[in-house]
Subunit: 265 residues, 3 copies
Amino acid sequence: MNIYSFLQAVREQRPLVHHITNWVTIFDCAQVVKSFGASPVMAHAPEEADAMTSLGSALVLNIGTLTTELVGSMKLSATAANRKGIPIVLDVCGAGATAFRDRKCAEILDAAKIDVIKGNSSEIARIAGQAVETKGVDAGQVVADLREIAVSLSEMRACTVVITGAEDIVAGQGKVFVVRNGHPMMANLVGTGCMATSVIGTFAGATPGQIPEAAAAGLACYEIAAEQAVKKSDGPSSFKQQLFDCIYRLDEKQIRAMQQVSAGA
Amino acid sequence: MNIYSFLQAVREQRPLVHHITNWVTIFDCAQVVKSFGASPVMAHAPEEADAMTSLGSALVLNIGTLTTELVGSMKLSATAANRKGIPIVLDVCGAGATAFRDRKCAEILDAAKIDVIKGNSSEIARIAGQAVETKGVDAGQVVADLREIAVSLSEMRACTVVITGAEDIVAGQGKVFVVRNGHPMMANLVGTGCMATSVIGTFAGATPGQIPEAAAAGLACYEIAAEQAVKKSDGPSSFKQQLFDCIYRLDEKQIRAMQQVSAGA
Amino acid sequence: MNIYSFLQAVREQRPLVHHITNWVTIFDCAQVVKSFGASPVMAHAPEEADAMTSLGSALVLNIGTLTTELVGSMKLSATAANRKGIPIVLDVCGAGATAFRDRKCAEILDAAKIDVIKGNSSEIARIAGQAVETKGVDAGQVVADLREIAVSLSEMRACTVVITGAEDIVAGQGKVFVVRNGHPMMANLVGTGCMATSVIGTFAGATPGQIPEAAAAGLACYEIAAEQAVKKSDGPSSFKQQLFDCIYRLDEKQIRAMQQVSAGA
């Protein structure tokens, strides 16, 4: 896969990526989109859900700080995105932590066709029907094979499934990609998971005809930048600054030298 | 115009700048006020709108992530600000993107006397009644003369109008100022527009008798700091860090050497 | 007091610290918890208040951008925390600025047993019944003796009281600690007070049997990191970055060399 070509598509098309997301990492979700050269917008009033979503090239939903009202707006936006035919990425943040989150995820998944379901191992396992527990928003233990879970959920929901972790698994349209870029320092920074979701939305918005490939390419670019950022960091906050700067400066040579993406059936 | 004297007024008086703003850049709006030496406060409960606004020296309203409830609190705060006689700055963020935003801007403008209306070119053109479209929260194309739009809206609403862009136009009280400071890197950082609004509120709060001058001076100071920050940056995030630090350290010599503000009738 | 042993407990136990906090500093509250090696979670839907709180080791409440609905969720979470027996820290942010804040603080304090009440001098004085005024969220003038106020409120509410300032006072269980670490630069950064509250919650969550000691130790660690961070800073934003990095790297030697905590009856 030519990872760089997906980054080129983002930078040339500058997709408008609409978000209904959480209040913790909302700035970082917007900034990661902008650092990649695309255009973020965040809005959650139900009265403009339809109109704002229709301006966009992709929709990112993240239930991190969900309320019933916010999920109501997510459903309206998702319906509008389906109507316009733009990809929807759902971060099932905290699924498996409370029954309320599980229920709201199910509601969103039933209200519209979601193109990408993204979470950590215990979140995705829970959405796939396993009896696992998420520790707040951090992954709990999952005993089953993650690749099998991803493929099975992907088939069940006819969508792309992304499980992030030391290795990221992307399963969709009968394909599986494994992304081995990234660095353990990412776990010390709040929001790296949420930003990954926004990156997937950005890349899917630029190449909506190749969603699993776009998700894998986006994760690879984001995590290559993270690897570069760690080298210039003394801790989680200098890492964060370098991460945005490295994303902004990411070039073809770096991507070709560092990409660790493998594809399989 | 002696730009530095306006910064001095801010640092000496340390105005309390009350905000009802958006959830994306709320921290940065507060931090830019604090970096200039003033005191930010953010609160949006309708029950305390009156009391909190009355403690302040200026009120900043920003509709970036508006809801009907939040706009309700904005109207209450605006009414309290008018009663106390403190300046109100309204960022018409995303006007022209959805009919809901246009309608809510009109409601706020009709509910109270707004002292400064601020936006990018397509947002202000829309408020001035032109049929332009805003791309999410990024400027769309405007064919008319921006200076004419600013002056005309300023007269129609008896307020100061600020259009930010490569050149900022400030029109109010029969005067027009053009601020040519700033740097294209600002467009790569989420929130530079929102922060500009908070800066205008801060300067207007310190010198409420000279609102157009305060707005131009505030923008010049903010953008001089941005020019300095770019020199020490490798991308949008190191730029952001340097921006706050440069604002904090801004001195008379830098301002006199770098200011590019021209005044005209 | 062996300050370092409290940091060790945090790093070993990695307590899950649940927050219902404000929208201005919500990221920083989460990141400070994570930088100390613990696990933050932020959620405010009333439907999951009970379930999410019950996963945690501590609950942090901060009324910075309160609404009636948010305080409703705080009361539900506080009740759940009491039932589970985990410590609750309440930041009475802005108490004394509006009657609404005073009333909501009283409601929270009456709804559940709060383990730590934390604020600046005028906020705590107001909660203790004094007729002082808070300037937005910045401390107003208090003429009474702060140590007496802390001890008296601590006895009245049978809890630990923390007053932050140039000197932090921690009064609880018949003990008083004074923490003299920290640096004036902290006042130039938005959120240092909110982060202090999250730090107290983190340390109390790791050593719930010694809450006054945990609060003093947490403040000392946080402020030692702040002292280190200032040395590498050019302003409030580079200070912020260094603060998180220094917290992340904090070690026993630094703590032993720099700690300024005195204990008294």
